[in-house]
Symmetry: C2
Subunit: 139 residues, 2 copies
DNA sequence: ATCAAAAAAGCAACAATGTTGCAAATATTT
DNA sequence: AAATATTTGCAACATTGTTGCTTTTTTGAT
């Protein structure tokens, strides 16, 4: 695990620092998405707020994590599975927000559908967020 | 137009005030979505920030406008067409963000697709945001 | 039209969130 | 192990959003 973390950092030409290791660790041990606030809490108040902001920004730039759009204000981040395996960013998957536990998940196996747009519009990227009850909360 | 605005407010049991008229007017004269900041700017610095927040909140509660999820931080609001005609909230349409002009539009004619989820997940609501180039910017 | 009651606006103060510049600390490279 | 490059933490600030309370405006009844 620790080796994985260092690998991911090195593969992305990032120097290995305590905060990056810790924050990446949080993502790896967690199935859902994390907001900036979650990270500050779970990191055990060890890192400066600014460091967390900058680390997340760096990870997004490198494609290690991606942001998830939400209807409320909060920005959430999740590991980009494809990237972490291949070093290249594909986000064809959809996101799921559980209205019971509040967690956000990437459904890596569910592919974004085709959308037929009116004449004159062209598409770069499609983002799908499904709201409902997740597997854990249903069981 | 002015009569329309008063109608919408009255239909929703809201008292008719200058700020509500002005803000609703901004939405009606505008094809795209508005963020809180846009409204403060376009209103001509007449209203207190708090009033704008509270007005938007009220409009959302009444179903006059709805929020649009975005990957960046900003919350955007758009008129709910169905509601303004029927007094009842349906948001089956998708949203389009133009990466050229930055505007956000409701594509009222494009219906949210069916999404097949893995076993154990149930769906309440599906939000689709398409990023691309809009009709204006293509022409 | 006037007045009383209800609702909303504006103000002030605050809380949370995000940003920037810079000096000190840490990681990398040789 | 030292020099260089990078990152961290701090302080200060900017932006965004919230809350309580007083004044103003709107509404509804007379």
């Amino acid at each position: 695990m620790q080796a994985d973390i260092r690998n991911i950092l090195k593969r992305n030409q990032l120097s290995v620092t305590a905060s990056r290791e810790k924050i990446l660790h949080l993502f790896l041990e967690q199935s859902g998405a994390l907001a900036h606030g979650d990270i500050e809490k779970r990191a055990g108040e060890k890192f400066d707020r600014v460091t967390v902001y900058r680390t997340l920004q760096t990870f997004v730039e490198k494609g290690i994590i991606h942001t998830i759009p939400t209807a409320d204000n909060s920005v959430r981040y999740a590991l980009c599975k494809d990237n972490c395996e291949a070093g290249h960013h594909h986000d064809q998957h959809i996101h799921f927000v559980c209205s019971h536990c509040g967690q956000t998940f990437c459904l890596d196996d569910v592919v974004t559908p085709e959308i037929k747009l009116p004449r004159g519009y062209s598409t770069n990227h499609i983002e799908v967020v499904v709201n409902g009850i997740c597997r854990e909360c249903t069981a």
